[in-house]
Subunit: 338 residues, 2 copies
Amino acid sequence: MATIKDVARRAQVSTATVSYVLNGTGVVSDTTRERVLAAVAELGYQPNYSARALRTRSHTLGVVAPGIAGRLADPATAEILAGLSEAATAAGYCLLIAAPTDSEAEGELDLRLARSGRVDGLVLFDLRVADERPAVLAEARIPAIAIGAPATGVTCPIAGFDLRAGAEQATQHLIRLGHRRIALLATSSDLSISEPFYAGYVAALHAAGLRRDATLVIEAGSSEDDGMAAMQELLAVRTPPTAVLAATDTLAFGAMHALRDSGKVVGQDVSVVGCDDLPLAAHTYPPLTTLRAPRRELGATLARHLISLIERRTVPPVTLLPVRLIVRHSTAAPRAAG
Amino acid sequence: MATIKDVARRAQVSTATVSYVLNGTGVVSDTTRERVLAAVAELGYQPNYSARALRTRSHTLGVVAPGIAGRLADPATAEILAGLSEAATAAGYCLLIAAPTDSEAEGELDLRLARSGRVDGLVLFDLRVADERPAVLAEARIPAIAIGAPATGVTCPIAGFDLRAGAEQATQHLIRLGHRRIALLATSSDLSISEPFYAGYVAALHAAGLRRDATLVIEAGSSEDDGMAAMQELLAVRTPPTAVLAATDTLAFGAMHALRDSGKVVGQDVSVVGCDDLPLAAHTYPPLTTLRAPRRELGATLARHLISLIERRTVPPVTLLPVRLIVRHSTAAPRAAG
DNA sequence: TTTAAGCGGTTAATCGGTTAAGTGGACTAT
DNA sequence: ATAGTCCACTTAACCGATTAACCGCTTAAA
């Protein structure tokens, strides 16, 4: 592999000049520039990444996500990653993905990657309510941005979806259809996003003069199976709900499965609303009414903001992308109120 | 940030000794080793990645995948990535993800990442039939492994699923149920995996004394919408199929949607078999009979093999992981043959 | 005419590690 | 007593870039 010295020799200049030409820094005459570029082309020269990174920055954004039973395997994550990756590459950065192991937990991995200079900054998935990661990274002066919702004591910028407005809008939709007993399949209350989602749900109920029924709020996990189990639980309540708002499409899919198993017709008997609008949501039976979350756009926003932080520009502390209700066929007026 | 010099000074040794201790190379007395380790701990020393990589290797595996409308956003990919990432991290490697752009195509990006030493090797997703990537990389002596099926002229190791056996098994299943007109929703014929899938389908038909009907073989794309469109096409045929084998679950989901739209009951009227066994497949209506592909395991295999190549060990040219038919409720005996 | 600034380069220090070669002292074999 | 081996380190070259400092020359400003 040709090095900068080979190029310099062939172009009869010093390595400094080659560097200046390639980086557009410094002043170089046109004829010299051309000689250098010709040498670069002839040798097929490619600057060594590690050498450059040693002097400058790594130009890499880090993502630490558990592979197993975790974020990485989630279809919604995939699209955020796609957006991240595209925006990062467009800005001259790459995306590094690492998985925590038994011997190295998420937080330690975050620190190691950043402190070893392997990444210039980190994207934190699934911000939790009392997440220590932002504080730890902030103390070490490591640029970071979290995906989620504002949580107390979080010291790094946050980007996410406006789930409060979304949940409110979705709940309103159900109320307008005539539903009065509306259940909530929430994600783990550890997650920062669970709070605004719940708040939006409650706000819509209150605005309509409805009371929240604690038995209709279930903290489900995240998988289809979790959604299914939660729905079964709801069906066993004295007066089951006529509508369900699920915090993710995946939970909604599980809920729909449980409803069908118990002989209910989704839409006719019980309405279901999801959140994410996975590509699949349009193709389930019935097609799912859901909140469309612009995941690619979130990915791109994360990349842009993180790069801004790395390059010492400022970014808004909180960026919430709007979600929009997509009405399909999993929601309808309740039977009795028909 | 502390450097190796700081550690050396504090432990009263040379930087070489520190390096020997940290890497387990060289001979160092126990007392010195302890002094060094103590200094490391006290300073919170973390070796600089770029400096190390400059002398040795990058310890990074590369994945080049188009973000938009591409591989990265696919739920099946996500799990392969999860497996890759976990196995890579466990072996001391990381995963780098980059997206091609308008100005830099996939192949160029592959080359740049490898030739700049940013990655030690590459995982090639979606091996195509006449894919030039393996040859280009082989010529540049860049370790690479492709995901797909053996294709003519491919000069790098390949790992994938045994789709030929899988498709055969799935087709057999449909034949045993009594189906005679079995359609195939194939992926793009550009992809290397389309060939074995088709071959397995045809082999099962022939073994049962059935003839392949060209009108029942449709080259669909990859999205749910593609599956839906293809199914609509099949429904318009003079004698529509009573069963459909789809090359991916995603295509199958689309096909089921089209069937429902045209008033057919999936399973009762038309059987559908998918391939992948996405987590969702168990929760659709009806739950999808499908070929389970061990995606995480494939990811882990890819990582292990690629690392072997990087470290100059040999790997089998072709590794096909077995797939297994999971029978759910989207397949049943055809109406007439009840 | 003298001074300062600008141009188009070069030299060499530097980033932070790895590792081949060398070195001094203790110990063993002859 | 002398030479040869280890042992446990150290020295210093090296990986391949970036970049501050400098240099000789020309040209414009005072």
